[in-house]
């Protein structure tokens, strides 16, 4: 097995190269069937049916965004209702105050909900995928540069409970992988 990256740094995972998109879908299914959880596949273009083959778990981002949106909504409720009903209960333009001024609240309720949701989605996504970062261990692997041109790769990460360097490498080889490489961090 080849080695990429700095061998004295922690292990990132084991990767292998495959011949085609069809191969890669089959490999993803096999990896899932073998019980691996922390693996990923890489290709120069989106592959139909890959989502089902990988069966990635549902991202928790949706729930996080819901909490963000709810925060924005409740903040707008508080910032509008409390001044209008409690602090300054004034009649302006012949309009009622407090709860009955609710048509005037909606645009702001909507905007803050969207704003907080968007921020939560953007920042939450960046945090979950670990960006920004200077380098990724995968880029220590020279052959991986082909991923944006003609390479199809599968990588099993070392944090997977089933991971063992030799056995995982052999497994990838048995699935038809070439250039099986142990990838270290820099």
């Amino acid at each position: 097995m080849d080695i990429a990256g700095n061998p004295s740094s922690p292990l990132y995972g084991v990767g292998a190269e495959f011949a085609s998109a069809v191969d890669l879908v089959r490999v993803a299914k096999e990896l899932r069937a073998a019980g691996y959880e922390s693996f990923d596949v890489f290709s120069p273009f989106p592959i139909h049916g890959m989502d089902k083959a990988v069966q990635s778990r549902r991202s928790p981002l949706g729930r996080i965004v819901f909490i963000g949106g709810l925060t924005g909504f409740l903040a707008a409720v508080a910032l509008q209702y409390i001044p209008s009903a409690v602090i300054y209960p004034l009649i302006v333009h012949g309009k009622p105050f407090g709860f009955f001024a609710i048509p005037a609240y909606f645009p702001i309720l909507f905007e803050t909900t969207v704003l907080f949701s968007a921020f939560t989605a953007f920042i939450g996504l960046l945090m979950m995928i670990g960006l920004p970062r200077f380098n990724h261990p995968l880029f220590n692997w020279d052959r991986f540069k082909g991923v944006s041109a003609d390479g199809f790769f599968a990588v099993i990460e070392s944090r997977d409970p089933k991971f063992s360097k030799d056995e995982t490498g052999r497994f990838l080889e048995s699935l038809g992988g070439s250039n099986v490489t142990v990838i270290h961090e820099d």
């Binding site: 333009h93 048509p103 645009p107």
Partner: protein
């Protein structure tokens, strides 16, 4: 050329349904005639309410056909014929409009010579006068019928010839129809509905009617497609992927309707100008207010919450339930546009409301059934048919 049995609608699936629809239509029209003799104003308003409800469904269907051709949509090809069939109901709707011509002064009070001296009306007389009004109505129907007829004719011609040229012609018709359609919808909404109270105006009114039209025609599409599937058509053609897209569009247009409705309400509420607020004061008083609140909850909150999770959108049964509910709410929406102008003191249901819906509805069902068997159930030789069947989302 002959169609395979799975491509052609077989009338044995509806049994005597076609005759029943014709008979029901005749009976309901007879009832309406008696009603019109007894109380012509009630008849006029009830009939306009029912007419506008079905008009919006055809209008929405035409809009979807045009949009699908204009943006070269792929997913919709397999169910486009059903939209074309609904859009072609416009020729029947033009005939069904005729009774309104006879009761026009009872319906549109600005036509009544007794109101001719009104200073507001005199200011608006350049637009609100009879020759111009009827001329515009003719133009609306010419545009709607012409566009719907051409789009369906080329599509049906393609079934026989398989020529790609038909797709290109349809794209041209669609592009040419976009602006006239938008103008006709806006002015039809102004002429037929807004002018019921000639004092009142709202610049977003046409968009509001259109929002309900686009939504309710999708609901009808869901129901028609599911009904055809339940008797064995579209096997392996329309899958849960198509339902998922329809569900997403239903959600989007539920939100769009609420957005437009709220935009109209909020601006009028905020500006608080008497000639604008009259519309909502009438509808937010007494028993009309109960129905208005029901409309907000039923037309927006309920479908929004039901359609938000991805779970139900892939289930035909669930989606049909939601579609039926939204259609009922759209009926209420149109009811609240028309009837408060007649019963200004509060909600007063009339048997003529029901009869008018039954009369126009059963007539259109019969015409639709006729169109259903006239051609294939889907564009069988559309070049993009296979992509539409293979839809993934």
């Amino acid at each position: 050329m002959s169609l395979r049995p799975d491509q052609k609608f077989d009338y044995r699936h509806v049994g005597y349904g076609f005759l029943a629809a014709c008979a029901l239509s005749a009976l309901a029209f007879f009832g309406l005639l008696i009603g019109a003799i007894l109380d012509v104003r009630q008849f006029a308003f009830s009939y306009l309410f029912a007419f506008v409800f079905f008009f919006t469904i055809s209008l929405g269907a035409l809009f979807w056909v045009i949009v699908h051709h204009a943006v070269d949509a792929e997913w919709s090809v397999v169910m486009r014929r059903q939209l074309e069939n609904s859009a072609c109901l416009f020729s029947a709707l033009a005939v069904l409009f005729i009774p309104l011509v006879f009761v026009a002064p009872d319906l549109w009070a600005w036509m009544d010579p007794a109101n001719a001296g009104n200073p507001v009306l005199q200011e608006k007389a350049a637009y609100l006068n009879r020759p111009f009004f009827w001329g515009r109505t003719l133009v609306y129907f010419a545009v709607f019928i012409g566009s719907a007829y051409l789009l369906r004719a080329y599509s049906v011609a393609q079934d026989a010839s398989g020529s790609v040229r038909c797709t290109i012609y349809n794209r041209r018709v669609a592009f040419a129809s976009i602006v006239p359609l938008a103008l006709c919808v806006t002015f039809a909404a102004v002429d037929w509905l807004m002018s019921l109270d000639w004092h009142w105006f709202s610049t977003i009114w046409g968009v509001y009617l259109f929002a309900g039209a686009a939504l309710s025609s999708l609901c009808v599409l869901v129901l028609v497609v599911t009904a055809l599937r339940s008797v064995g058509y579209f096997k392996g053609l329309i899958t849960e992927e198509h339902y998922h897209i329809l569900g997403k569009l239903l959600l989007a247009f539920t939100i769009f309707w609420a957005y437009i409705g709220f935009s109209q309400y909020m601006l009028i509420w905020y500006a608080n100008i008497p000639e604008e607020t009259s519309y909502f004061i009438l509808r937010n008083t007494g028993s009309w207010n109960v129905l208005s609140i029901l409309l907000v909850v039923g037309h927006f909150v309920v479908p929004f919450l039901l359609l938000l999770p991805s779970l139900g959108k892939r289930r035909p049964g669930f989606l049909c339930g939601v579609a039926g509910w939204i259609l009922a709410m759209h009926l209420l929406d149109v009811y609240l546009m028309v009837l408060p102008e007649l019963h200004r003191t509060g909600f007063r249901p009339s048997i003529l409301d029901l009869l008018a819906v039954l009369a126009i509805g059963s007539t259109l069902v019969a015409v639709f059934l006729k169109a259903l068997g006239d051609s294939a159930l889907y564009p069988i030789r559309d070049p993009r048919l296979q992509q539409s069947i293979d839809l993934q989302n």
